[in-house]
Symmetry: C2
Subunit: 138 residues, 2 copies
DNA sequence: ATCCTACAATGGACATTGTCTAAGTCAAGC
DNA sequence: GCTTGACTTAGACAATGTCCATTGTAGGAT
């Protein structure tokens, strides 16, 4: 993720302690934090960071294409730093655990013209739902 | 949708004016109303219906499997009465218009075992994103 | 190194969406 | 036509997210 900071700086992003902390919190694989979780972890590193700043920064990272918004449940949006490797999500219906998955095939090609209603289709999100091993054992 | 009312009555659902109105509002194809929109249309037919009742009734219809919850944007949940014909959604990124679509192929079979992480996968939601003809023309 | 200034952060009010509760109301069976 | 338990209501509350006026500061200019 450290290259993220470099990329952003190269795009003229003004670097602040708050932004750095938010970017650090988002580092990793299978990371899907809500804005509030990001805020909580950011506060641990930088106690005076405000909620608004976390929301603003997350929004900017999404706009810049460095982070994806995911809403697997219908509560808070989650933020996925793995934006450069297209993937979909597998969600446990019971505990909410999320894994990144890479299906074979391309769902875009599965949508015939007759089902496009004149739309220009540019993307697709796929969410698989099921039960994770831990919840299945319990 | 009138058979819906019959089905529900057969399941021991107590029939009230409020529930009837909510069911009527949800009738149709390509209907994807938010709870508030349902409430607004219900009020037009039955002015004293309360917000809580609309939420309760929608929740019950979802539990009974007669209506699906859809969250295509990250704002309010939408309610799709077309629960008995499996389908996915195509959403305009600009105006939010939603169409029901029926892709060929089954995305479930596109998820290899190696990408299931031990989960028991039971379902999948697909959301196509693009631009509708109206917005493309503007 | 210091100053300037535009951009960023802050905190708190506000908005939206959804849930809960206590009290009143009514559908359906007797 | 009663009774009863399920349904409805209004409004308080909760969770998530947005906005705005003020204060602070990163980074270029001097």
């Amino acid at each position: 993720m450290s290259d993220l900071l470099e990329r952003l700086r190269g795009r003229g992003w003004r670097m602040t302690a708050q932004r750095r902390v938010v970017a650090e919190v988002l580092d990793g694989d299978h990371v899907h934090l809500t804005a509030d979780e990001v805020h909580a972890r950011a506060v641990a590193k930088l106690p005076e960071i405000s909620r608004a700043t976390v929301y603003n920064t997350l929004g900017e990272l999404v706009t810049l294409g460095e982070v994806l918004e995911v809403s697997t449940d219908r509560r808070a949006k989650r933020y996925d730093p793995n934006a450069h490797r297209p993937h979909h999500h597998l969600v446990c219906a019971q505990c909410g655990a999320i894994r990144d998955v890479h299906p074979s095939g391309n769902p875009l090609t599965d949508l015939p013209d007759s089902e496009r209603f004149g739309f220009t289709v540019s993307g697709v999100e796929v969410t698989y739902r099921g039960t994770c091993p831990t919840c299945a054992a319990a």
